[in-house]
Amino acid sequence: MPPAPPITDLEQLKNHPAVARLLDWNAAAVQGAKFDRDEMTIYVDRGSIREVCALLRDDPACPFNFLSDITCVDWYPAEPRFEIVYHLLSILKKERVRLKVRLDGASPAIESVTSVWPGANFFEREVFDLFGVRFTGHPYLRRILMPEDWEGHPLRKDYPVEGYR
């Protein structure tokens, strides 16, 4: 049984608490949304990610107050190359939402959300370490898993699986 096709029409999805809240705040920050396999994805404008996170965290109706995860997907050689993926959880409502920001391949950078959740610290360092995406405003942006003097970013698609030998 193949899964149902994803819904990408913003009109149909605007009843979701997170989508409604963001459209209400600034419709220009929402680049699109997708509902696929019971999971909600919102594409957010690159410049407003920190404000979006702070807004969703403090939303009185459905506070997405817990940051589960930050990671990245590399779509090399397509552009925009990187997708930064944020998984938020509402402990009160038991809801999840996924935020996505698309970044270009040339010197990718995005604002850090450590001021919203201090726990974003390690996750952003991991993305910086393995993908080479810079987080502006991060308090301690250094490699976390690889050695400090490692060259390259191993999880990029143009980095060979067996490494450089």
Binding site: M1, P2, E39, D69, H87
Partner: protein
């Protein structure tokens, strides 16, 4: 020599403080955690965990494997709860595929997951107590853990790296006598928990070392990304098994232990009570185990029975195709989270429609929990750092991946 000088250098902030490296080879850091401490006498001024000593690039390796070949890799992430990781991964792939899993397979998964939770908590309890100085508990815990490992060996042929779950079901029917053995274990295990509690819960030395130590508030725990008993010990009532059920957990009745104090003792109590609740779930799983197949009816994904392969051409063809070229998974992405013994274990899998995952990301519970360590320890005594590390139950394999 380059890599030696390139580790983070921390300069003491004041004249009277000094930098102390705890780990990476220190018995109470549970593996290869390095904690950089700035201390003023016995007091911790600043604490910084340094991780990555066990990084093996599993996420990168996954991208080069077929979907079914990733299952053994997931065992190696968290070597104390391999079946939880197996479950989380196969659930994510099944969600991508849109597969329906037969009830018996789901219940068996629940049963084995709770055994895994007990196994993991026993190792935690033994080592945590040993860190603080109660050596005897370790021997008691490993006695029962041995029985669980033997049960794992019975079903999967492996004591630790079980790789027992498959996309679409379970590898094999459990052997004869397995359920009796589990029932036997579930019968006597609560008494054993009483034994551990007799040694610790009322013990004045244990209480002095744990009560009021390494406190963290609910707000801080949430902001720093803590999950599982670390979060529930601070009074946040969330358990993914109950709140966002997966693999038919909605059919089980169990309590979620929550403590309000947020100290080492609170986290200890949460986990000890979880041991008892897990036994309850195992009992319910044994009593209500449905009959039926253990694999989904999806010949292009699930390997056929060996017997069928000898008589049916289609089975042989499917077997050959799955082994040699894997199975294609429809394009899309899922985030599947399960409640591992340490908290929220999540797999984020992106598929591009081929037989190999485009991206596998593991959200490990300890990675979030470890960030609370600085908050817990700063301003406290050096000896409390050991208690705090034990109380968040870290597994470095999961953190470094």
């Amino acid at each position: 020599m380059g890599h030696l000088t390139a580790t983070p250098v921390v300069e003491p902030g004041q004249d009277r403080t000094m930098i102390l490296n705890m780990g990476p080879q220190h018995p109470s850091t549970h593996g290869v955690l390095r904690v950089i401490l700035e201390i003023d006498g016995e007091n911790v001024v600043r604490l910084m965990p340094d991780i990555g000593y066990l990084h093996t690039g599993i996420e990168k390796t996954c991208e080069a494997k077929f979907y079914q070949q990733v299952v053994p890799l997931t065992d190696r992430i968290d070597y104390l709860c391999p079946l939880t990781n197996n479950l989380c991964y196969v659930l994510a792939v099944e969600k991508l595929l849109g597969l329906e899993i037969p009830p018996k397979a789901q219940w068996l998964r629940v049963l084995l997951n709770e055994l895994t939770r007990i196994n993991s908590h026993l190792v935690w309890l033994g080592t945590h107590a040993m860190d603080i100085g109660a050596l005897t508990v370790f021997l008691y815990c490993f006695r029962e853990r041995e029985e669980i490992l033997k049960m794992f060996e019975m079903v999967s042929g492996q004591r630790m790296m079980t790789s027992y779950f498959r996309v679409g079901g379970i590898a094999l029917e459990p052997p004869l006598g397995f359920f009796d053995r589990v029932r036997d274990f579930a019968g006597y295990f609560p008494e054993k928990v009483d034994e551990y509690e007799n040694l610790l819960t009322g013990n004045p030395i244990w209480k002095m070392r744990t009560k009021g130590v390494a406190r963290i508030t609910a707000e801080d725990a949430i902001a720093l990304g803590a999950t599982g008993p670390t979060l529930r010990g601070s009074g946040v009532d969330i358990d993914l098994r109950r709140d966002m059920p997966y693999s038919s957990y909605e059919n089980f009745k169990f309590k979620v232990p929550v403590s309000q104090e947020g100290d080492v003792f609170a986290r200890y109590m949460c986990r000890v009570l979880e041991l008892r609740e897990s036994v309850e779930i195992i009992r319910q799983a044994l009593d209500g185990m449905p009959e039926g197949p253990i694999k989904a009816d999806a010949p292009h994904v699930v390997l056929p029975d060996r017997e069928k392969m000898k008589t049916q051409m289609e089975s042989l063809i499917y077997h050959f195709k799955i082994i040699t070229e894997g199975f294609a998974v429809p394009a899309g992405e899922v985030y599947q989270a399960v409640e591992s013994p340490r908290g929220e274990m999540g797999y984020y899998i992106v598929s591009d429609g081929t037989a190999k995952p485009y991206r596998v990301h593991m959200r490990s519970a300890c990675f979030g929990n470890l960030q609370t360590l600085a908050k817990m320890c700063e301003g406290r005594l050096l000896a409390d750092v050991v208690a705090a590390i034990g109380s968040i139950d870290i597994v470095l394999g999961e953190i470094d991946r």
